[in-house]
């Protein structure tokens, strides 16, 4: 049964392996949590989760796994079996057996059933409360008035805790804060030594001194500096208006970030052509060719856009949505040119991946296959992809 639980955790995206399984068994063998589902919940969570981002998936999995048992007709049999087969028989110490008997199997089963029933009610309620903007389900004054106290040790039952999904906000596919995007961007930092030699290189100095028969020779080297450069090209206007908030968050995270030696941003509408804009109102123009001239291929490029437009805006000369563009080359040509010039480039799409079967989206992905949704997880993946591209070139 634990093996099933582990596989279910895996299906929920938790990276548990035989390693965690063995740790869990070892802990159970040593008598941790043997007599209480509550303690088992915390124990398994501590061993199987690597970050609080995993807590929500764990909660959902735990609730589902143990909930399924209640609804099957043979609850008692299954539960009995679970208690019997929870761990290899040899693992049962006299102490554990005593602990299990002390609680009484029938008593435990009744408690379990009852808890399950009450849990179901709270499950719905809890979800609704949590749903409204992630505020705590308990408000400022109360502390879960309906909470069930469990005989030994107090506190809520594991299933209640699990079904409340308090850690929902930690799910990595939900955007929370600018700071978190900032943290994601931080991974792009790239340290290198360049420029004036100003830092004492102790090891080299010792080496040189040794070679110089003990006469002290000082060696210097340039300081370690972050030399990553980021170019952000953002789609504005039209359908992107719905995504303003998240785009702003990404922008301000990148703008405030100290992790880039240089950061530049330009705007376009639907697709970049001969020129782009330095302002969101699309008044001040900048020639795309000039950009290609001034920025070298070490720059990282992130496109931000929903890639939702009429296909001819990408494939036709003069197909631009704004009449003043009068593009002499197709949009796809321009995107391809940018991609070739900046080999380290990705596309972030604020629309969920489910909407990505639009023709325009598929066209763009023929040129830039590295398209990611603009969730925290997507940004993480995009950044990992950028790093890989960068490493490949070095």
């Amino acid at each position: 049964m634990f093996v099933d639980f582990m596989y279910q955790l895996r299906s929920y995206g938790l990276k548990v392996s035989s390693n965690e399984w063995q740790t869990l068994l070892q802990a159970l063998e040593r008598g941790h949590a043997a007599e209480s589902l509550n303690r088992f919940y915390y124990l398994a969570r501590a061993i199987c989760c690597r970050t609080e981002l995993d807590y929500d998936a764990f909660d959902r999995c735990f609730a589902e796994f143990f909930e399924g048992i209640t609804y099957s007709e043979s609850l008692k049999d299954e539960f009995n079996e679970w208690l019997k087969n929870a761990k290899p028989p040899r693992a049962l110490t006299a102490e554990e057996k005593a602990a299990m008997q002390a609680l009484g199997l029938d008593e435990l089963k009744d408690m379990f059933e009852q808890r399950m029933r009450e849990q179901k009610e709270r499950h719905d309620g809890g979800n609704r409360w949590v749903g409204t903007g992630g505020t705590s389900p308990f408000g400022s004054g109360g502390y879960n008035p309906a909470g069930i106290r469990v005989g030994e040790g107090g506190g809520m039952s594991a299933l209640q805790v699990a079904s409340q999904r308090l850690f929902r906000n930690f799910r990595s596919d939900v955007i929370i804060d600018t700071r978190q995007i900032g943290l994601a961007l931080r991974k792009l930092r790239h340290w290198g030594r360049e420029g004036h030699a100003a830092e004492l290189d102790l090891e080299a100095s010792i080496e040189a001194t040794g070679r110089n028969a003990g006469d002290i020779t000082l060696m210097f080297r340039p300081e370690r500096k972050n030399n990553q450069k980021l170019l952000l090209l953002m789609d504005v206007g039209g359908s992107m208006t719905y995504h303003t908030q998240i785009c702003e968050q990404l922008f301000s995270a990148a703008y405030k970030s100290v992790h880039f030696k240089e950061f530049r941003y330009y705007y376009f509408h639907n697709c970049p052509y001969d020129f782009m804009f330095t302002d969101m109102e699309q008044q001040k123009r900048v020639l795309t060719r000039d950009l290609l001239q001034t920025l070298d291929s070490t720059w990282l490029l992130i496109f931000v856009g929903d890639a939702a437009m009429a296909p001819y805006e990408l494939t036709e000369v003069g197909g631009a949505i704004d009449y003043f563009q009068q593009n002499a080359e197709t949009g796809l040509t321009w995107i391809d040119r940018l991609r070739k010039h900046f080999p380290c480039s990705v596309w972030l799409n604020p629309e969920p991946a489910a909407y990505w079967q639009r023709p325009s989206n598929q066209l763009i992905r023929t040129v830039i296959p590295d398209m990611f949704p603009m969730s925290l997880q997507g940004i993480d993946e995009a950044i990992a992809a950028l790093k890989r591209m960068k490493q490949k070139r070095e």
Partner: protein, 277 residues
């Protein structure tokens, strides 16, 4: 193991039952315990409390952005040795004199069990945790300069705190027992406050708790006030002689709770909006 350590919190540190449980599991399985949580939820203090409760010495290693994994094991003071050899002071021959053990190194060498706190591990370079993997696994390390191997007689209880500023490598996480300290609910908070302010009257605590959780719920506020700020705030309220009734209308000493100018402004604007109704 016959002598099983049992952690139940201390007089000054209220640990939730699940945290107690997890500390005990980590001690028992001899795995490093990785603690994460909002700032001000008592990650660092936990190690002190564990050391105090289990009556073990505490060795703290404050990780900085320049820290290297080896610093925690030992440092070879080459410059001192070079200096000594140039000016003929000290016994330069004895390389051991220039090997200084770090917190982890000391805990391995000690004859009794100890608690090691690796504080804010995410401050260091990305590779830092990986460099510690082996040492934490086998609890021993080799000093090439002296040809010595230091092996832990009693495996120390290792507690690692992280603010999630950097992601830790998977291989490292796999070896740790993980716990996220959730922000305390009002009930638990009341117990925590009792520890810090035993004399303060019940009414003031209740009223300030209501206001505090209200403040945390305001969506405009970016840097939410935490436990330590609440403790300070109540201290300020007591010293300022503020009556519980006053708290209903205003929030005195707001600077203790909110540390960002933008948060203060957002709150003031929000209040103005609400006062219209």
């Amino acid at each position: 193991m016959s002598e099983r350590l049992q952690f139940k919190g201390t007089r000054n540190y209220i640990a939730s039952p699940e945290l107690q449980e997890i500390v005990n599991v980590a001690c028992d399985l001899e795995r490093p315990l990785l603690i994460r949580g909002e700032p001000g939820t008592g990650k660092t203090v936990l190690a002190k409390a564990v050391a105090e409760a289990l009556n073990l010495p505490l060795l703290t290693w404050h990780v900085k952005s320049t820290s290297k994994a080896q610093d925690g094991l030992y440092v070879y003071d080459t410059v001192q040795r070079l200096n000594d050899s140039r000016f003929g002071t000290g016994e330069v021959q004895d390389i051991k004199r220039y090997i200084k053990l770090g917190p982890l190194g000391k805990s391995f060498q000690a004859s009794e069990r100890s608690v090691v706190l690796i504080d804010e591990i995410d401050k260091a370079d990305l590779e830092f945790p990986n460099d510690l993997l082996h040492e934490l696994d086998v609890m021993s390390f080799y000093i090439p300069e002296t040809g010595e191997t230091i092996t832990a007689g009693k495996r120390p209880v290792v507690i690692i705190s992280s603010n999630a500023e950097k992601e830790l490598p998977d291989a490292f996480l796999r070896r740790c027992i993980f716990h996220y300290i959730a922000f305390p609910e009002a009930d638990e908070m009341r117990r925590i406050l009792k520890v810090h302010h035993p004399q303060v009257e019940e009414k003031l605590i209740s009223q300030s708790l209501v206001r505090f959780y209200w403040l945390r719920e305001q969506s405009e506020i970016r840097k939410k006030p935490s436990t330590s700020e609440l403790v300070d705030w109540i201290g300020a309220l007591v010293r300022g002689g503020i009556e519980p009734k006053q708290l209903e209308k205003e929030l005195p000493f707001l600077g203790v709770l909110l540390k960002k100018e933008s948060d203060m402004q957002a709150l003031r604007q929000g209040q103005r909006r609400n006062s219209r109704f």
